[in-house]
């Protein structure tokens, strides 16, 4: 699958998962600004070098957690659940990606999400998509191991 098509599909899936799970409307964005960034990643077992990552600013992650929990952002539970909210969004995102994009790749299994404590090294075998909400909040998704990705279906 051409990288541009892969990027487009990845972005579309991310937007859909954000809307359905966290009630946030976002669109692909050309901005690469990451402020107070937190990121989670999971391995895609069976895909050489495969992983999927999701990142957002800490403040926006708190908002996402609040939306998913059905509480206000200033609720202490929102603050304490920010990383977990990103992890669960990534988990759901990965399931849809595995089904809709990686479907033709044999035996790809989604790993367990975990916080990324430092910026990952780039290998050139990944694509990144940045999204932005109307309020200017940024979300980034990154798929690594794209050379092993075959067109789904």
């Amino acid at each position: 699958m051409p990288p541009d098509e892969l990027r487009s599909r990845l972005g579309a899936i991310a937007c859909r998962v954000l809307e359905d799970t966290a009630f946030v409307f976002a669109e692909p964005s050309a901005s690469t600004v990451r402020h107070d960034w937190m990121e989670v990643a999971l391995p895609l077992h069976g895909l050489e070098g495969g992983s999927l990552a999701l990142g957002a600013s800490r403040g926006f992650a708190v908002q996402l957690a609040a939306n998913m929990l059905g509480v206000e952002p200033d609720d202490p539970e929102s603050e304490s659940s920010a990383s977990e909210a990103l992890s669960e969004l990534l988990n759901i995102f990965a399931g849809v990606v595995a089904h809709e994009i990686l479907g033709a790749s044999p035996m790809v299994r989604i790993g367990i999400p975990a916080p990324l404590l430092e910026a990952p090294s780039t290998t050139g075998d990944e694509i990144e998509v940045m999204l932005a909400t109307d309020e200017g909040e940024a979300i980034g998704v990154r798929l690594a191991g794209i050379s092993a990705v075959r067109t789904a279906g």
């Binding site: 998962v17 359905d20 799970t21 957690a65 998913m68 929990l69 059905g70 659940s81 977990e84 909210a85 992890s87 669960e88 988990n91 759901i92 995102f93 990965a94 399931g95 849809v96 595995a98 089904h99 299994r109 989604i110 790993g111 367990i112």
Partner: protein, 132 residues
């Protein structure tokens, strides 16, 4: 009919989301129990009667498939209906889970309407040995 439900998911936030979806869907719930992995769920099921298990698949320590397999081998637990709520959509895995007796699947992300439709479909089979 009121249900006692066990939610098995390693994500506390997802367990809360499932509880909210049950409320919004109008599912009559007597009690909701929670477990963070398959081991914890099996320990709870040994001493707590539930009428339905809602289980994630990708969990550490003991995943959902391993838990469901253990339940199917238990005379006491095999009658409890299980619904998989998971981001996992592998057809091969779902085939294996259906062979183990899983009654339904709710892919993530899901809506309260999805939950309501699923319960409408499986409620006749959510009696189980330990139904309240």
């Amino acid at each position: 009919m009121s249900h006692s439900i066990l939610i098995v998911d390693d994500s506390p936030i997802m367990r809360k989301m499932i509880k909210r979806a049950l409320e919004v869907a109008g599912v009559e719930v007597d009690q909701v129990f929670e477990a963070g992995d398959g081991h914890e769920a099996l320990r709870l099921l040994e001493c707590t009667p539930v009428s339905l298990v809602l289980a994630d698949i990708n969990m550490p320590t003991m995943n959902g498939e391993e838990m469901i397999s253990a339940m199917s081998r238990s005379a006491a637990l095999s009658a409890i209906p299980v619904v998989v709520i998971s981001s996992e959509r592998s057809p091969e895995r779902m085939d294996r889970l259906r062979m183990l007796g899983v009654k339904g699947q709710l892919p993530k992300p899901f809506t309260p309407e999805d939950v309501h439709a699923l319960f409408s479909e499986i409620v006749p089979s959510a009696g189980g040995r330990n139904a309240t």
